[in-house]
């Protein structure tokens, strides 16, 4: 064997030390986030409502079915094309309630402010939050303010919690998908993530893409009016369409087959993804939903979505299968099949 061939025997591995600290990837909505929930939060708070791992808890109080949820907002920059942290804080929580089929009623809003934040900025954010709540028909009925030392926060964080009312007999949950069900998507994916990325230091590029941030509860009401044969709703936020479909496939122990050609993606978003080496299936949305619908009701629900302003480009993007439970696959435009995996952390813009 020549010297070169010998040197080729070298190899390259190395396990990292045990995970001992929180990494940014733990907040990505991918498998690292799921691991944190599974290993730290679920064992600590174990109860059947939490164990459903839906976007909202549904609890019965004196015969009323209440949806209850909470969400924190740490978006950077605070203002971005198509929205800001204030409107996002309303839409995020309203949508978590809406995905349970609930009519959103009341919100709380808690502000964590960093010393030195301009009051002008705070006023703009609060004004936007107020308008978004009014537009969505919900009221902010309680709140809290804390100030942290300069350097201990990033300008402004917001937490909102929300309560809504769930119609009698409605049971939307990630464990309800059944083989044969259709997978519906309300519109083009990736707008929010690309709008935010275009503003980030180091990646600035000219982009006309606006965040899709929007409250989805009236769209959900229109879908429910068309049919009660909805099994599950999810808004594909962090982790994108991939995380949302994978979570449902795992919770329901079913497979899913998506059709690449049917998934709408704006050309500007596709272009930005090509340039950065990102896959739109993993990019965040803040005004889209996926619905798992019984096959016989799929067309009626789709028609109802398309009549609604937030569902004009809705599509049936795939089918729930009995094959390969827990796994999401994608039929490519070439007619071949591949896995749609859940990412560990955030997608990384690749080299060159």
């Amino acid at each position: 064997m020549s010297d070169h061939a010998k040197s080729l025997e070298l190899s390259c591995p190395l396990p990292l030390p045990a995970k001992d600290q929180v990494l940014l990837g733990h907040g990505s909505g991918g498998t690292l986030s799921a691991e944190l929930i599974r290993e730290i939060f679920l064992p600590a708070f174990s109860n059947p409502v939490l164990a459903r791992l839906d976007d909202q808890a549904i609890v019965s109080v004196n015969g009323s079915r209440l949806a209850f949820t909470t969400d924190s907002f740490v978006v950077k920059p605070l203002f971005f094309p198509g929205g800001d942290i204030g409107s996002l804080a309303v839409h995020g929580t309203v949508n978590d309630l809406a995905m349970g089929g609930a009519r959103p009623l009341f919100l709380s809003a808690a502000f964590i402010l960093e010393e030195g934040l301009s009051l002008e900025v705070l006023k703009r954010v609060v004004g936007s939050l107020h308008r978004a709540a009014a537009d969505a028909g919900v009221e902010v009925v309680t709140g809290d303010t804390k100030v942290v030392e300069k350097g201990s926060g990033d300008g402004l964080f917001i937490n909102t919690s929300g309560i809504g009312l769930v119609p009698e007999g409605l049971q939307l949950s990630a464990d309800q998908a059944r083989p044969g069900d259709r997978i519906l998507l309300s519109g083009p994916i990736g707008d929010h993530g690309i709008a935010i990325l275009a503003q980030r230091e180091g990646l600035e590029f000219e982009s006309t893409v606006e965040s899709d941030s929007a409250p989805l509860h009236t769209l959900v009401a229109a879908m429910l009016a068309a049919s009660r044969a909805l099994r599950c709703l999810r808004d594909p936020t962090r982790g994108g369409l991939s995380s949302a479909t994978n979570e449902i496939a795992q919770q329901s122990r079913v497979g899913m087959e998506l059709d690449d050609a049917a998934i709408p993606v704006r050309e500007e978003v596709r272009g930005a993804c090509e340039m950065l080496g990102l896959d739109p299936l993993y990019v965040a949305n803040e005004g889209k939903l996926i619905a798992i619908v019984a096959p016989e009701a799929a067309e009626a629900v789709l028609a109802a979505m398309r009549r609604h302003p937030l569902g004009g480009q809705a599509q049936i993007i795939g089918t729930v299968t009995a094959a390969h439970p827990g796994l999401v696959t994608l039929r490519t435009t070439l007619g071949t099949s591949r896995i749609v995996d859940m990412l560990a952390g955030d997608q990384l813009p690749r080299i060159c």
């Binding site: 064997m1 020549s2 070169h4 061939a5 040197s7 080729l8 025997e9 070298l10 190899s11 390259c12 591995p13 190395l14 396990p15 990292l16 030390p17 600290q21 929180v22 990494l23 940014l24 990837g25 498998t31 690292l32 691991e35 230091e201 180091g202 990646l203 590029f205 000219e206 982009s207 050309e267 500007e268 596709r270 272009g271 930005a272 090509e274 340039m275 950065l276 080496g277 390969h324 796994l327 696959t329 490519t332 435009t333 070439l334 007619g335 071949t336 099949s337 591949r338 896995i339 995996d341 990412l343 560990a344 952390g345 990384l348 813009p349 690749r350 080299i351 060159c352």
Partner: protein
């Protein structure tokens, strides 16, 4: 990409070289709607089927082909192109993943730099998760290191201008593809006399690696798809030498499904006919001479040197380092890092994978002890690493 052209002549060199797989990053830029249509043609299923039928007609016996570039591996897996090919055509995956072959000791140097309070380390995104000897850049960042992701080294130059009190280091890795942009950053820093900017350089070159693969007694590869981005910069004269020396056909290929099927078809045709020519499938981007202004700036800033490749070992004359005239912008010298060395332990089979001797799924650790969350080797880290591409797209085919 629309908008990036505004940075005048700096981008006119870097743009053609960085992420050249999409046609609109090249000289004449179709924009908006037209641009995407142009890409869609290279993903058209009818053209794909016609090319597959063509390959099926031509092939009479088994052939082993290697795509050099990790971007090409990614496309093959993402579109399931291996499913479409006749079984006689076997594709093995080459060493063209810059993140995967950057040596351990260079990663360790970056980790050391990023841990220093005065340093802002700026890196391409997918380097952050690559494991060094004891940590990775994400972990160093979690412990307070200032690590930032950039898409271009010129962003790092801008950060240096904006933070005159900090030391800004750009982690300048990659093949010939990223070399012009990295050279431009060094050149610009010298022109401005930017004292707080430097580059941690670990560039690698494709042709010496192909030469090592072809000289190996275990080599099985009979034809190569050469990396289109690299050849956009360098042209393909060097590949003509390789084809002559080793009597092996080489086709310069692009990165879309149709590009790769066409390149495979051209290689199979040559192999069946007994030819050993260099052909250019990616002619919409690549010329024989390459991008001459880019080559000039590389020549001015870099010199060829020996280089270690992670998973392969030391290859003579297979890398770039900064020339003495740019020594003041060399992070290795500025921070006295040359004493940091690391040997690569031998556990995973990435050496065999990088040479095309084994497929990722043949590794006992694949998808079990070695996953993207807990990678045993760099091939599982980058989206362009062969193991990660298999993990993300083909796990079900492996009987998982």
């Amino acid at each position: 990409m629309p908008g990036r052209a505004s940075q005048a002549n700096v981008t006119s060199i870097t743009e053609a070289t960085c992420k050249g797989g999409v046609p609109y990053s090249l000289g004449a830029k179709p924009r908006g709607r037209g641009a995407m249509k142009y890409i869609d043609e290279y993903r058209d299923s009818r053209i794909a089927r016609a090319l597959v039928a063509e390959i099926q007609r031509r092939v009479t016996r088994p052939w082993v082909l290697m795509e050099i570039c990790g971007g090409q591996t990614h496309t093959l897996m993402r579109y399931g192109i291996d499913e479409l090919l006749p079984r006689q055509v076997e594709l093995v995956h080459g060493p063209g993943c810059p993140v995967c072959v950057t040596p351990l000791e260079t990663i360790d140097k970056a980790l050391e730099l990023a841990s220093r309070p005065e340093v802002i380390l700026v890196s391409y995104g997918d380097m952050l998760r690559v494991p060094g000897s004891r940590s990775d850049l994400f972990r160093v960042r979690a412990q307070g290191g200032d690590v930032r992701i950039a898409y271009s080294p010129m962003e790092a130059v801008r950060i240096a201008r904006a933070h005159p009190g900090r030391q800004v280091v750009f982690f300048a890795i990659g093949f010939e593809t990223t070399a012009p942009a990295n050279a431009m950053a060094a050149w610009q820093a010298r022109r401005e006399g930017l004292q707080n900017f430097s580059l941690l350089v670990s560039h690698v070159l494709v042709p010496p690696a192909i030469r090592v693969l072809l000289r190996s007694p275990e080599n099985r590869v009979q034809g190569f798809i050469a990396p289109g981005h690299v050849c956009t910069v360098m042209g393909y004269r060097e590949y003509e030498e390789l084809a002559r020396e080793f009597r092996v056909p080489i086709v310069v290929g692009g990165f879309e499904p149709i590009d790769l099927l066409e390149a495979i078809s051209m290689l199979v045709t040559q192999l069946e006919e007994g030819s050993t020519d260099v052909e250019n499938q990616y002619a919409r981007s690549v010329s024989r001479e390459g991008n001459l202004p880019a080559q000039r700036i590389m020549e001015e800033v870099f010199e060829v040197c020996d280089r270690k490749w992670r998973g392969i070992g030391a290859i003579p004359q297979s890398g770039y380092r900064l020339r003495p005239a740019f020594a003041a912008w060399d992070a290795d010298r500025r921070f006295g890092l040359s004493t940091i060395t690391a040997d690569e332990p031998a556990e995973c089979i990435s050496a065999q994978v990088l040479q095309g001797l084994k497929k990722p799924v043949e590794c006992p650790a694949f998808a079990r002890r070695c996953t993207p969350e807990n990678p045993l080797g760099a091939l599982m880290v980058s989206a362009e690493g062969a193991c990660a591409a298999y993990y993300h797209y083909r796990r079900h085919a492996a009987g998982e």
